[in-house]
């Protein structure tokens, strides 16, 4: 347990060191001053700001690093750039545009220009309307999958990117690349967080 808390603390420090203290404040700054501190491969700067802000709202920094600390937004940009075909990429652009259009319709501004309360309101609504993933076994979804909305897909990508980042995977979650034996029934309190691999 001592090892875990040490790792956790180390993780937090490392996460902070990677992202720097300025990123969150930049993203939380007011209209017209929101800047992007990285160069997207796929997104336009405005799209990237939307995605970064969305990631930060879903997985903010707490005692553990947040999505932006581990560059979830940059990774998602890379994944869309390198693994999506042209149609998938266009779909993503269109969805971001629709998301911002909805924000504008409801609150008079695009997502990044809304205050935190309004962003939360938007996402609470999106939670209700963007579908749920069917369970899967062995990598395959079971049953007929209803369409998944933009918000749920982005959230899912965010969690994937977050959990598979080195910082979270090695220092926040339980990292055990070579477990050796299998123990099928042990107290959760002996482990704490979920296994990373």
């Amino acid at each position: 347990m001592d090892r875990r808390s040490v790792l956790k603390k180390t993780g937090l420090l490392a996460g902070a060191a990677i992202a720097g203290p300025s990123m969150l404040s930049l993203l939380h700054s007011c209209k017209n001053e929101t800047r992007l501190t990285w160069q997207p491969e796929f997104f336009t700067v405005d799209e990237a700001k939307t995605v970064s802000t969305l990631m930060d709202t879903i997985l903010p920094r707490t005692e553990t690093p947040g999505a932006l600390d581990v560059k979830v937004d940059m990774f998602i940009d890379k994944v869309i750039s390198k693994t999506y075909d042209a149609m998938g990429q266009q779909y993503m652009r269109d969805e971001i545009a629709v998301f911002n259009a909805d924000c504008t319709k409801d609150f008079g501004a695009i997502f990044i220009d809304l205050d935190e309360a309004k962003r939360i309101e938007i996402l609470k609504e999106a939670e209700k309307t963007s579908g749920k993933f069917n369970p899967g076994i062995w990598g395959t979804t079971v049953g007929d999958q209803e369409p998944i909305g933009f918000y749920r897909s982005m959230k899912s990508m965010a969690i994937w990117a977050y959990f598979t980042s080195e910082e979270i995977g090695e220092n926040v979650l339980n990292y055990d690349p070579v477990p050796g034996n299998y123990e099928g029934c042990i107290p959760l309190s002996d482990i704490g967080n979920r296994w990373s691999l």
Binding site: P60, K78, L123, K155, I159, D176, P179, P187, W195
Partner: protein
């Protein structure tokens, strides 16, 4: 390092040729080499040396740029195999190039291939179960297909033979329909699996839930290391803890000094000499240079994988065999089978939130067949039976939780709810019209005819699937699971990756391709011992049976050679 036939000066005459280096080909090579035959293994793909050629075996997700994501180019190259959802950057190099190797789906059929030394033995699921006389007698009893020319007693010593060398872990149960193997210690059930086991065995007379029997070492065995519970098997195991040709049979064959492996060797056809009444060798195309080369040998083992073996036989035309080598019966290419797949149930398990597990056990649970095993368990809804695989784990999808923000983020760092699932594998009857044919309209990268696959599950399999789902839901509900959902993804054949048949064994040359020792009836020095030889499909995973059948046939081949019968 193995002896490779890749030099300019090439040996072209061997005692034996083995076509393919996967699960059955590796066994053929080992047994033939150990009995003194100079053996050439022809592999259509590249060399994959154990450990040396497992580039991703130790990578964590963050070590690869896209963390498993495939580029559009990779998706195109693996356009067929990605339908299985098993291909990622960790394993893409072990899946065949689907663009270079097209086939035609007359009806939907997923053909998953591994074109490299070791074949799909690098990628397989490693579930290993003996078949029983319930399986070997099935055709004779209900009249579907032809009778197997062998019974359990014929193959039992060969199960023992291969198990002792391969290393199979599991728990003995004494069930006649699922005979026990020679087991290494079993893997462990987790607390939820133990809970469900006790409930199912209490509520349902005659049903058992056991840890999967599998080709993973649970103790060191024959110089190989035991499983470290990393569950990164399909990238190749640095410990050699699971059975693959690369880690087990090919090194044993190599140790005899009798093995030569020739990579990039696409077998175009088997050469038949009408005067001699037997095959004299094979004709290959070098996959890299397109050069045609002939190799000769006294015996030829076909282990290219079920459909590739049949493709080679169909393409081996001569005056004597106008419709393919050994096809006097007209059954070559017919009676294709697979197990039904991805039909079952899952649910949530309450009461274990304070429990977790350690290690990523590359194995699950198994529920042996319990239907149609005797008068008492007989159903009139369908013939034959099914078994279940499954498992319990802490899962859930954090993206589905209707929340976000600080508390949400901290909460998803904890393990999700316990879930448990079972998925059935039903036996497929041998139907003559489930078939493959040579397709000269679609040629592969080397100008060779390809396969058109025309197969489907029919009423009997659909009725079994219906029962699988109903039983699965009932078992999970009776076990006290919550939110139990049944599912049937209605996968077409191929998804089970247990393709069997198309060159079946039988007692009568008029209705089968192979005899009881896997010899082509009319060309007795040609042996087929991969999945193509199967006369029925059982509901039980077939790989262990391929191993045993291959070892048995190899001993027979050597014995017949010594008697000058081949």
């Amino acid at each position: 390092m193995a002896n490779y036939n890749i030099d300019a000066k090439k040996e072209v005459t061997y005692d034996a040729i083995v076509i393919g280096s996967g699960i059955s080909g590796g066994w053929a090579a080992k047994e033939l080499c150990e009995q003194g035959l100079k053996t050439l293994v022809l592999e259509r793909g590249r060399i994959v040396e154990h450990v040396m050629d497992y580039p991703t075996m130790n990578l964590d997700p963050w070590d690869s740029e896209l963390r498993g994501g495939l580029t559009p180019e990779q998706k195109k190259k693996h356009q067929v195999s990605i339908r299985s959802n098993w291909v990622s950057t960790d394993t893409a190099h072990f899946w065949a190039d689907d663009e270079a190797n097209p086939y035609t789906e007359v009806k939907p059929f997923l053909w998953l291939r591994g074109h490299q030394m070791g074949g799909r033995s690098l990628l397989w699921g490693k579930q290993t179960y003996r078949w029983s006389d319930l399986d070997f007698e099935a055709n004779a009893k209900d009249g579907h297909g032809v009778d197997w020319p062998i019974r359990y007693k014929d193959i039992e010593p060969w199960y023992t033979h291969v198990e002792k060398f391969a290393g199979i872990s599991g728990e003995p149960l004494g069930l006649p329909q699922l005979p026990d193997s020679h087991f290494l210690p079993p893997m462990e059930l987790n607390c939820v699996e133990k809970h469900v086991k006790s409930r199912i065995e209490k509520e349902f007379d005659g049903r058992h839930l056991i840890i999967g029997r599998c080709a993973h070492l649970t103790v060191p065995h024959n110089g190989r290391g035991q499983c470290q519970n990393r569950n990164r098997c399909s990238r190749g195991c640095p410990y050699g803890a699971y059975f693959s040709s690369n880690s087990v049979t090919l090194p044993a064959a190599q140790a005899t000094g009798n093995l030569t492996i020739r990579p990039f060797s696409i077998v175009q056809s088997i050469i038949y000499d009408e005067a001699k009444g037997k095959a004299t060798g094979v004709r290959i195309i070098d996959a890299e240079t397109n050069e045609d080369i002939e190799y000769s040998a006294k015996v030829i083992f076909c282990n290219a994988s079920t459909l590739s073996t049949t493709q080679i036989l169909l393409n081996s035309k001569s005056d004597r065999f106008e419709n393919g080598l050994g096809n006097d019966s007209g059954e070559l290419g017919h009676n294709l089978m697979d197990h039904t797949y991805r039909v079952g149930a899952m649910g949530k398990v309450e009461g274990f939130d304070d429990k977790y597990y350690k290690g990523r056990r590359p194995n699950g649970i198994y529920i042996p067949r319990y239907v149609n095993i005797d008068e008492k368990s007989k159903t009139d809804k369908f013939l034959r039976g099914f078994g279940f695989q499954g498992g319990g784990y802490r899962g859930g999808n954090p993206a589905n939780i209707e929340d976000f923000g600080a508390d949400y983020k901290d909460s998803i760092l904890k393990p999700g709810p316990w879930e448990f699932f079972i998925t059935g594998f039903a036996e497929c009857l041998p139907y003559h019209d489930n078939q493959v044919n040579l397709n000269t309209d679609v040629l592969d990268k080397w100008g060779q005819p390809t396969l058109a696959i025309d197969a489907e599950f029919k009423a009997n399999e659909k009725a079994a699937n219906k029962q699988i789902q109903e039983d699965a839901v009932a078992m999970l509900q009776k076990s006290g699971l919550k939110d139990v959902i049944g599912f049937d993804n209605e996968h077409p054949p191929g998804y089970g990756v247990h393709e069997m048949g198309t060159a079946r064994m039988g007692r009568n040359p008029k209705t089968s391709v192979l005899n009881g020792f896997n010899q082509v009836h009319a060309a007795k020095n040609v042996f087929v011992t991969d999945g193509a030889c199967m006369t029925s499909s059982s509901c039980v995973n077939p790989s262990l049976t391929y191993m045993a059948i291959t070892a048995r046939a190899a001993y027979h081949a050597v014995s017949e050679l010594k008697k000058m019968n081949l």
